[in-house]
Symmetry: C2
Subunit: 462 residues, 2 copies
């Protein structure tokens, strides 16, 4: 049966598009979340066109072999991890920017286009594709769509689904669905586009997307503000939101994160030793308006007790300040093994979340570095542990779960942007509750009755 | 059987909440779209709480009697029109603003809250709920959610679904589903919120919504620009979009509309006689920024051939200019019977749409007045006819359909904001195509296996 499937796939896609050598397929079995399980795939296929995707889906459906759709593998929830004996359907060879329409400010792309490549292509037309996950220089738009990726832009420009006008999707029977439209408005039928965005490869394979573009923003001005306590920084965030200021970026780092970054960069962030939190804000409104926006934010930071504030409209200096945020990953990496959480809480509860993480840190006896997108409440507490030390992994895992628990108790969600995948199914079930889970299962059964696409990822049918 | 159902409903909801007198129920059998069919309901029920909605759903499901959910009845697609022998479930008694949370900029509302009442309540906190359908002073938020209502705000602030964070929905088995969350970001599971928004009462009854609010915008500045041809006005719109200007309102009126409004207001709009099109723009960015935004738009209008432009930051004068747009309905009403279309086209095709309407007008020998939301391409061509003249209704209907055909041929949709309801099912089928329709049917069957909610509205199961 599996041999027949491989023969069919080779015939339909060409032998070079069907990989079965375990040494080769190994590169396609995991994404970037080491804690999620992964199996050995029967094959990895890389179709070059939509017909190839359809042929793969039909052949796998006929053989009863599950399909795991995969982009670049930059995900961090195990969503693209292989299932034992599955076919991994990699969309990276469907990599055309089909069209850029500057007049209607939209682009039509295939799923294998790298996020950065689209950004650069549309920038030539003075246009901007906002979603900017941290892997933007290698992740693909197909993966961004499947996980509804966010990034630093979200506070002002929203998440991936806010930039999608329509999709082309290969369904479980191999048929080709077109959702949405090229117009900016439309209410003809159910919003299928938004149903497929963020469905993590469980409902179909996205083969094309029509994306809304924005005018290229101005070069940003940047503000850094250091606080003695996370409580004060949290109060600043609340006030900024409350007063209707919408910076184009608003990131927060706690003391542990500041410390890790300072060690990594071998510099002081100017926050002063023992600073409790650093807030980084940008405004891309341009010129005088950006200056005024940042000045208003700076005033709020001072009013809420900032020990230090520094604003600049010099782009190079702004980049230097932003380097602190961009170095968090490396700074923490240097401290040991780590598990990064992804909770999103109401923006008024950020200080509560950080303080809760401090308590959890004390409980388990491990450091937790908290940074995140303060502008939308999406925080990434990272538990640091020694993988070789007896029992530390288990304690880290306990802290990781306690943070999710805390996020839910603060009215938040167990995943703000990373997704559920093959890692947080239990937590999704808990967040959704029995009725929500039941509806998910009903929808999955309706669109994928054979449970062909990524079975057991996100949630199981039983 | 039906008597038993009525007894159950009276027991569960109280006798005063169950209306069966045909003279009384007549007020609940139709919305504002006279061309859509309507039947005689078995009963109209007005539950006062969620338990009452659940009891109604369970009782109707048990009796096999369909439910048509209804808000204020301001819709214009027949979506809320009664089916013969159905129960009309009216949500206007669920009318509490449950919570306003200024710090997190959100409100929790029941479906019977009138759009304007929410606007006024949040304005006291300096906040703004953008969606503003023209019936905003009497339509309810439940209906806005069910139809994914738009309005004049969409060019800058999007449609209803862009302001919804989460829902509470009574499903076909009477269970209570909670979708979404109170956070501004979140990817835990499928986007059920967006699936229910715009589903026109075919998947469940929305009993609560968590809505995102924005800071109250500044008092708007206003610009009027008159063009000798719709082609020039269309070119202006394209340039404005292309250059990344985002006014808070951008409306277009063609010559027939201008004429109708001038007659109604008994004044000249200052466009000069024989003007081909009038463009009205507002900026709510405030002060100097608004002046610059409108000045840039004014310059584009001049560059593309405007015969007259007039900008003002005087609010009263702006309201006077906007009165022209707000009077369109009355101006056209005075000309005879009318059918208002609702097509949305890519913004570069607005001039093509208006010129196409002129051709259709000549073909059928009836006037067609075109106005609409130029900023998002959502146009409302209105066919004017004499209801008493032999054959005019049929010709009007032919023109109406030809406009939908034209909209589709220009890459548009058959409904930008009014919905499908019991009027445009054939056109929806055509726009979706067989695969899209099949997916709609699969989803409807999955969530409403007994076809309880608004059966045959939007699309039929066969």
């Amino acid at each position: 049966m599996t041999r027949a499937l491989l023969t069919t796939l080779r015939t339909e896609l060409g032998a070079e598009a069907v990989l079965t050598d375990a040494d080769v397929t190994a590169a396609y079995t995991r994404d970037q979340m080491p804690l999620a399980p992964a199996g050995q795939p029967l094959a990895v296929v890389l179709p070059r066109d939509v017909a190839g995707v359809q042929a793969t889906v039909r052949a796998c459906a006929a053989a009863g072999v599950p399909i795991v759709p995969r982009g670049a593998g930059s995900g961090i929830c195990g969503g693209a991890n292989a299932l034992e004996g599955c076919v991994v359907l990699v969309t990276t060879k469907l990599a055309d920017i089909v069209e850029i329409d500057p007049e209607n400010r939209l682009a039509v792309v295939q799923p294998g286009v790298v996020n950065l490549d689209l950004r650069e292509a549309v920038a030539k037309h003075g246009l901007f594709y906002p979603p900017d996950p941290s892997s933007y220089d290698w992740c693909t738009l197909g993966g961004n769509l499947a996980t509804n990726a966010g990034g630093l832009c979200c506070v002002k420009y929203g998440v991936t689904s806010d930039s999608v006008l329509g999709l082309e999707v290969v369904l479980a029977d191999g048929s080709l669905l077109r959702t949405g439209r090229r117009t900016v408005k439309g209410v003809a039928g159910y919003d299928l586009t938004k149903l497929f965005v963020g469905s993590e490869g469980t409902l179909g394979v996205i083969t094309e997307a029509t994306l809304a573009l924005r005018p290229l923003p101005q070069a940003p001005g940047t503000l850094a503000a250091a606080f003695s306590s996370t409580r004060d920084a949290g109060a600043a965030v609340s006030r900024i939101v409350r007063e209707g200021l919408v910076p184009s970026l608003m990131e927060i780092m706690d003391a542990t994160t500041i410390d890790a970054v300072e060690k990594h960069l071998n510099t002081e962030l100017g926050a002063g030793s023992g600073s409790g939190a650093l807030l980084l804000c940008q405004s891309d409104a341009g010129g005088e308006l950006a200056r005024r926006e940042l000045a208003a934010i700076e005033q709020i930071c001072r009013d809420t007790g900032a020990e230090m504030t520094h604003a600049t409209d010099d782009v190079a200096e702004g980049n230097l300040l932003m380097q602190a945020r961009r170095s968090v990953h490396y700074g923490i990496e240097a401290l040991g093994a780590s598990m990064t959480d992804d909770v999103c809480v109401p923006r008024t509860r950020i200080a509560d979340l950080i303080e809760g993480c401090e308590r959890i840190s004390e409980d388990v006896g491990l450091r937790i570095a908290v940074c995140g997108h303060a502008g939308d409440g999406n925080m990434h507490p990272t538990v640091i542990y020694d993988a070789d030390a007896e029992g530390e992994f288990e304690r880290a895992r306990r802290a990781f779960d306690a943070i999710l628990e805390l996020g839910l108790s603060l009215g938040g969600t167990v995943t703000g942007e990373h997704g559920v995948g093959k890692f947080k199914q239990d937590w999704l079930e808990r967040e959704l509750g029995p009725v929500g889970l039941h509806v998910h299962r009903q929808l999955k059964r309706a669109l994928d009755p054979g449970n062909l696409f990524n079975p057991g990822s996100m949630f199981s049918l039983e």
